[in-house]
């Protein structure tokens, strides 16, 4: 059986990570997602630098230097992890929104589509004469999804920034601190990019469900900043009425003790441990006390959370004495066997070869025409009723031009040839 969105068509005008992830998730649910790309405006934030030498890779951060075999090649946009990561299951057509021919084709595509998703700079569509009113004039059943970083109106409408900029604005950086490290040396995350996709997908699904009864589309705005903040409502409530002082060390919790990341045997090997309650503490106490050589426990098996919090340093030392003499995997299985929440801190290579993750099909191997067969994380859900048997790797630029212009839009051969000759349809950047 095909997915819940089978038979629906999505126009993908997204860039960078949060928007491209959203449309990939719609493809994972069975929708036909068509990435509309320009041959004239190279999207470097989405696909990495247009030109790059091998020796330049060392100057680029972890997430942006991922070129297959560490070689950008002549067409780096087809070899970059960041350019391909969210391309799974999509098609690509080249179409210029600023030319008469391209705009006419785009209008035709809007008429034949169900959803349009974009997360470009403010007024990206309006500047191209594609206001919501214009789009709904072309297709009243269209679900129009916009994902501004800030908000659609007011000062936040024109604010420029990336995920970490908005995370700083939202005040979420102070959720994770090393007490001994200055604020400006703390790491950043891309949590905002992560939260946008699921919110936008839920919004699209709600709008499609609504369309079944009303017969009309919808206008959706997902504020990436707002959604990220919504995920942390409890942290904002806590900040207004703090019940506890600032955590005395990193990864500390006032709700569980012990709770942290503990060094294991080996170089830079760690175990995360979270003792969720008194029962887990008794199990942990039994395991650590039975091991030799281990220091005397600082507290008894019947100690309370408050007692463990009061003596957190001694408890931590005791736990570290045990973990540091074991591998993180041995510690993981022994503690989980006693119903104590623990997990090894896994690097990417370890996770990708993990027995459990492979047994549950957490990864998908995709054949890409340029970079070959590569493994990537698959959809995070599985249904008892359906699965997509075939998933395409990220498309090459313009790979589906013929399909889109001829089959989707129904253009005859002469019209399609004219679009190629005019430079609208092509497979390279100009």
């Amino acid at each position: 059986m095909t997915g819940p969105l089978s038979g629906l068509r999505v126009i993908d005008l997204t860039v960078v990570l949060s928007g491209t992830y959203t449309t990939m998730a719609l493809a994972d649910l069975g929708a036909e997602v068509i990435r509309v790309e320009s041959r004239h405006h190279y999207p470097s934030a989405t696909k990495g630098p247009r030109r790059l030498r091998v020796e330049g890779l060392e100057r680029i951060g972890n997430t942006r230097r991922g070129y297959a075999e560490r070689d950008p090649g002549d067409e780096p946009w087809h070899r970059s992890a960041i350019g391909n990561v969210n391309g799974r299951g999509k098609r690509s057509v080249t179409m210029e929104l600023e030319t008469d021919a391209g705009r006419s084709a785009f209008d035709d595509l809007v008429r034949r589509s169900d959803v349009l998703v974009e997360n470009n700079s403010a007024n990206f569509l309006e500047r191209r004469g594609l206001s919501a009113a214009t789009l709904f004039g072309l297709n009243r059943r269209l679900v129009l999804v916009r994902l501004p970083g800030g908000a659609p109106t007011g000062a936040l409408a024109s604010i420029k920034g990336m995920g970490p900029s908005f995370e700083a604005l939202a005040g979420l950086r102070d959720l994770r601190r090393y007490p001994d490290v200055p604020w400006d040396r703390h790491p950043e995350t891309m949590y905002m990019d992560a939260t946008t996709g699921p919110a936008a997908v839920a919004a699209v699904l709600s709008a499609l469900r609504r369309r079944r009864s009303t017969g009309e589309g919808a206008s959706i705005v997902v504020s990436q900043l707002g959604v990220m903040m919504d995920h942390a409502r409890d942290a904002y409530a806590e900040a207004q009425a703090p019940r506890r002082p600032a955590p005395p060390r990193e990864n500390f919790s006032w709700e569980m003790a012990p709770h942290g990341v503990y060094r294991c045997a080996g170089d830079d090997e760690w175990l995360a441990l979270a003792c969720e309650g008194d029962e887990a503490w008794r199990s942990l106490h039994r395991i650590l006390s039975a091991s030799r050589p281990t220091a005397e426990p600082p507290l008894g098996a019947a100690s309370t959370l408050e007692e463990r919090l009061d003596r957190w340093r001694a408890v931590d030392d005791w736990v570290t004495g045990w973990t540091s003499s074991r591998t993180k995997h041995d510690a993981f299985h022994e503690l989980q066997g006693a119903r104590v929440a623990a997990a090894p801190v896994l690097r990417e290579g370890e996770l990708m070869t993990d027995e459990h993750m492979n047994a549950v099909g957490a990864f998908t191997d995709l054949d890409h025409p340029v970079v070959g067969r590569r493994r990537s994380p698959g959809p995070p859900w599985s249904s008892s009723r359906w699965r997509l048997d075939e998933r395409r790797a990220a498309p090459l630029l313009g790979e589906d031009n013929e399909y889109v212009y001829r089959e989707v839009l129904g253009y005859d051969d002469a019209t399609y040839r004219a679009l190629i000759e005019a430079g609208e349809a092509g497979t390279d950047y100009v």
Binding site: G61, G154, A194, Q240, G260, P380, S383
Partner: protein, 329 residues
Amino acid sequence: MEWRAEGLEDLAVVDLTGDLVGLFCAHRLRSFGASVTSVHRDDAARVFGRDITFVDETDAGLPALVAAGDLVVDRDDELGLRMARHLGERAVRLVVTPFGRTGPYAGYKATDLTAEAFAGALSSCGLADHAPLGVGGHLISTYVGAVAAAAGLAEVLLAEDTGSGSVVDVSWVNALAASMDRRALQLVVRSYTGWDAERDDGRPSPLMNGLHECADGWVYLSLYGWQIRTVCELIGDEELIPFVDRPGLALAEPGNKVLRTAVDGWLRARTRAEAVAVAQAGGWPVTPANSRTEALDDPWLRESGLVVEDAGVDLPASGISLRGVGTSP
């Protein structure tokens, strides 16, 4: 603006999980208008529970609520399995568990921190000379809850199409491995290059991305290579003139030190508000860096309706607007 969404007004959701993952899933579906009942009991119900009906898991009426539910969320525990017997034919059972219901680690336990360790980006988050640093708060639970809401809703559409329900599984670790908080990208980088991501060694990045101090507080500064010319022109320091035509010089020493000194000096000579206003007007992404309490008072967030009073405290709005055609956002 008012953040209001619709679409699920006649959808009945029952959350049997008792955990924050299920509660956030319920909260998200409620934000689109679903009728939600939850067995959640702790403090989180206060901040995530607006317009959700809470019942005790021993409530005699719970089987009837489940029988009438379109989407029932559980964690495959004793309550979930017992209530699954009452599910209607068209109902979707959404099962959210730490490691999934199958595989060698099925039944293993997880919390935010341990799940992030196993499948999230923890290994590369933090400083190399410190322990890995978790993302903090309960952001892993709420993220998994958001994924679950999307997965469950997709299945509801299918059930309504076909007239029969299904079971959909979401595991915390699968959700985190596929998450765009770096992990999915890092996994693909690994498969392309063999590189594992590393924690920060503390050396400043040539592009200076990060927090910087102003006269009265902090800002977050983003910079791409192609913006160097703009930034140099905007700061107007004579020493930066060579970089206007040759921006690459600013990314290698000694040019990078010149750029860093000039940018830091420019920021320290201005208040946060001044620096942000001038930089943003020039197309340079500089934003205020707030604490959580500062964020709740931030005029931009207030003006946009992203912070609202709820249950006697200031809380974020949903950030999602869904309106019919012809209605302005």
